[in-house]
């Protein structure tokens, strides 16, 4: 008898192992699988309660979200919206796998969009976009590109981040912000202050790839460097723009002295605190996102600063005015209980000018539609306007959606760390290795 018991146990275990592949449970019918009850107006939607997970957590941010959906509540009184704050991407993934997906989820990063689209974690919005006749040209092309993958639009852009140059007027000593990399080098050397032993006291600009927002993805648009070839393989080793960026950066690091620069960098305050070196007058120019304006208003009210587009390659002056952008995305996860009501809220938050302007005014992120960018209700000052212009610039770029987006950026970042230290001998050979690393991973991922 015990043999039968053992056989049964083994059979159960094997069955469990073999069926472990099915993740999550199915919720309501997928978006677009049923005709929209009332076309674009949808006011006839049945009463329902929907849950929206977002990553904002500060009281002001949470209130901004509540304010932004006030219009939706008026328009759809039969739909109750519950907001859940402070949710990270991993929680969304786990919830969808566990069959407990929210109706709507938003993420601060675009890095997982390709993975989510391909795996079906988020539902394809294309059918309902067509059903409701939404013209996606209301979004800049770059925002459209980072919210879809291989023809599947599984999220919509909610708010965007744009990156530019912040400069401390007092430390600039009357200089204008640089427009080219050579001007940036020249100004950095002019503004840097050292003590008698050569230690850095004030840096003009910190070129380290490890410094706060100076990641490869944020700096690449300064030289127009591309990540992938048209066939989807890595372009890091073959695009001469990367070499230009690397050589410019290394020259400036060497001018400081790597050890001196690292010592200075590690002595600086935290990026997300009131001790930020830009507030404290330790750095004259920094690359940062538009959100820094709001942080300066809250943490360094008396700082006299200005903003400008990032300086660009001397050989590509037409890039001036552009920069890097990415942003918050929002969509309807697989297994959402009320997908149609959820879509109505996603549509409202991402295309309604009033909702976007409310959010932008409160959070100080860039609104994503052309109408909201031009809205007279949008609070604009010259420092914030810089980022609106960068976002709207036709040459502004992002890291193209890729299932290995995080891996690829990490691989390049790791290489850059060795590069600036001087640990890379043969640049061509090392860049070829980076290409191989990215391509091998892409092959494994079935790209």
């Amino acid at each position: 008898m015990h043999r039968r018991f053992l056989t049964l146990t083994l059979a159960t275990l094997t069955a469990a192992a073999l069926t472990a592949c099915t993740a999550g449970t199915e919720g309501a019918p997928a978006l677009g699988s049923r005709p929209n009850p009332s076309g674009s107006a949808s006011a006839a939607l049945p009463a329902s309660a929907i849950e929206l997970w977002h990553g904002f957590s500060a009281p002001g941010e949470v209130k901004a979200f509540e304010d932004a959906i006030a219009g939706f509540r008026t328009k759809f009184p039969q739909i109750t919206v519950k907001l859940v704050k402070g949710v990270q991407d991993a929680q969304i993934t786990q919830a969808v796998r566990g069959g407990k997906a929210p109706d709507i989820a938003s993420s601060f990063t675009t890095d997982n969009v390709a993975q989510w689209c391909r795996s079906g974690t988020f539902q394809d919005l294309t059918p309902v976009i067509k059903q409701d006749g939404i013209d996606l040209s209301v979004l800049p092309e770059v925002s459209r590109s980072y919210t879809e993958y291989e023809g599947r639009r599984c999220v919509m852009p909610l708010l965007a981040d744009a990156y530019g140059l912040y400069y401390n007027r007092a430390l600039m000593k009357g200089s204008e912000p640089p427009k080219t990399l050579s001007e940036l080098t020249e100004l950095t050397k002019k503004l840097t202050v050292r003590d008698a032993e050569g230690n850095i006291e004030v840096a003009g600009f910190i070129p380290s790839f490890q410094y706060y927002e100076n990641s490869a993805s944020h700096l690449a648009p300064m030289v127009g460097a591309t990540w992938y070839k048209p066939d989807g393989t890595s372009a890091i080793g073959s695009d001469p723009a990367w070499r230009e960026l690397l050589r410019w950066q290394k020259d400036l690091v060497d001018w400081y002295g790597y050890d001196k620069l690292e010592k200075f960098r590690k002595s600086l305050g935290q990026e997300w605190s009131a001790d930020h070196p830009f507030y404290k007058g330790k750095v004259a120019m920094v690359l940062d996102g538009e959100w820094r304006n709001a942080m300066i208003a809250g943490e360094a009210k008396n700082l006299d600063y200005g903003t400008a587009p990032l300086p660009v390659s001397d050989t590509k002056p037409d890039l001036y005015g552009s920069g890097f952008t990415a942003g918050t995305v929002i969509g309807v996860p697989k297994g959402a209980k009320n997908p149609q009501a959820a879509w109505e809220l996603v549509k409202y938050l991402t295309t309604d000018t009033s909702a976007l302007v409310t959010l932008s005014n409160a959070l100080r992120n860039v609104p994503t539609t052309k109408a909201s960018l031009e809205s007279p209700d949008l609070d604009k000052d010259p420092n914030f306007q810089t980022f609106l212009d960068i976002f709207a610039h036709p040459k502004t770029s992002t890291v193209p959606a890729n299932v290995n987006s995080t891996f690829n950026q990490d691989a390049v970042q790791e290489f850059l760390g060795r590069w600036e230290k001087g640990a890379v001998g043969d640049l061509d050979a090392e860049l070829a290795k980076v290409d191989k690393r990215l391509d091998d991973k892409m092959k494994l991922s079935g790209g």
Binding site: M1, H2, F5, T9, L13, T14, A16, A17, L18, A20, C21, A23, G24, G55, Q88, A90, T93, V96, R97, S107, F108, T109, D111, Q115, R118, S119, G120, T121, Q210, Y211, S215, A216, S217, E262, K263, R265, K266, S267, L268, Q270, E271, W272, V403, N404, T406, F407, D410, A411, Q413, E414, G417, R418, K421, A423, R437, D440, K441, L444, S445, G446
Partner: protein, 313 residues
């Protein structure tokens, strides 16, 4: 003439079932928390699995492992920790415990002083330690008072693992307490007899203390090795703090700063599985980790058994 197998007596079958019943809590635990996860890990290692979709890819995950230089770097670092950090931890714990048994006064004070760091939460302890060893931190300022160029402890790839070892030695409290209990448990009359026979301190330690505490030594070493194979939090926190990078959405940070020198197999496994969503490949790394744990434990058990048998003779 054919052999006739007699059916086992009814009472024996009943006893077997009863034994199985008594063992069932363990059997269920074993099946749910070990056998099933292990079977699932082997199964998924042959698939492209992004936590949602499955696609059979044969040995591709295993082939990718061969060209994944970060996996190899993480294995190298993990083995370094097993071979150098674990012995350092065990020897330091044993040394401190032995010294405490020799103290005539202030034992309670020193015992508390050495035990205290192990009470500090791992993250807080690691952050404090990295700040203490910051290039412009108090330790380096002190060293530089003597005109010596202090190292960039967690920022230099040659110093980062020794720095993690120092961190591990700082938090030696639990190991020290176990050794202290074991040392105090060694019968005093053996030392007295050895002293009468003219045995010195080293001879007494070698011939009396070590054989007596060998089960504790084995326990500390085996748990230390398993701990080192799963080494994650301290390396992750130390590298992030040393790099000055916070984990904000969209931020790009490769664990193992500087230059992959603190990247451990457990960290890489987590990164691959939950950041890159390559769960199939993460399963290959998990199996590798399991194989390492098994091999090291078997080697240690054999070595200690041989040591014990030698001691018994």
């Amino acid at each position: 003439m054919s052999t006739v197998h007699a059916a086992p007596p009814r009472w024996r079958r009943g006893e077997g079932l009863k034994a199985l019943l008594w063992m069932s809590p363990w059997l269920v635990g074993f099946a749910v928390f070990f056998a099933y996860p292990l079977a699932a890990t082997v199964y998924f290692s042959f698939y492209r699995y992004d936590l949602f979709t499955l696609e059979f890819i044969g040995l591709d995950n295993y082939r990718y492992f061969l060209v994944d230089d970060r996996a190899w770097a993480s294995i190298k670092n993990t083995l370094w920790l097993v071979v150098l950090m674990v012995p350092a931890q065990v020897l330091f714990g044993l040394g401190v415990a032995w010294l405490l048994t020799r103290l005539k006064s202030g034992v309670g004070f020193f015992r508390t002083v050495f035990y205290l760091p192990s009470l500090i939460p791992v993250v807080a302890g690691t952050v404090s330690f990295v700040f203490l060893l910051n290039p412009s931190g108090p330790l380096n300022q002190f060293i530089e008072l003597f005109g010596i160029a202090a190292p960039d402890w967690f920022g230099d790839k040659d110093w980062s693992k020794p720095s993690l070892t120092m961190l591990a030695m700082w938090g030696i409290g639990n190991t020290m307490m176990i050794f202290l209990a074991a040392l105090l448990d060694v019968p005093k009359h053996l030392y007295e007899a050895a002293a009468i026979d003219g045995a010195g301190a080293w001879r007494q330690f070698r011939s009396i203390t070590l054989p007596t505490i060998s089960p504790v030594l084995m326990f500390s070493t085996v748990t230390g090795v398993i701990y080192a194979l799963q080494y994650f939090t301290q390396a992750m926190i130390a590298s992030r703090v040393a790099a000055g990078v916070t984990d904000s959405p969209g931020s790009s940070f490769v664990p193992g700063y500087p230059e992959l020198s603190t990247l451990t197999l457990a960290q890489w496994l987590f990164h691959v599985g939950f950041r890159d969503f390559s769960m199939g490949y993460a399963c290959v790394l998990a199996l590798l980790l399991f194989a390492f744990s098994t091999v090291f434990t078997l080697i240690l058990l054999r070595r200690f058994r041989a040591f014990d048998e030698g001691g018994d003779r």
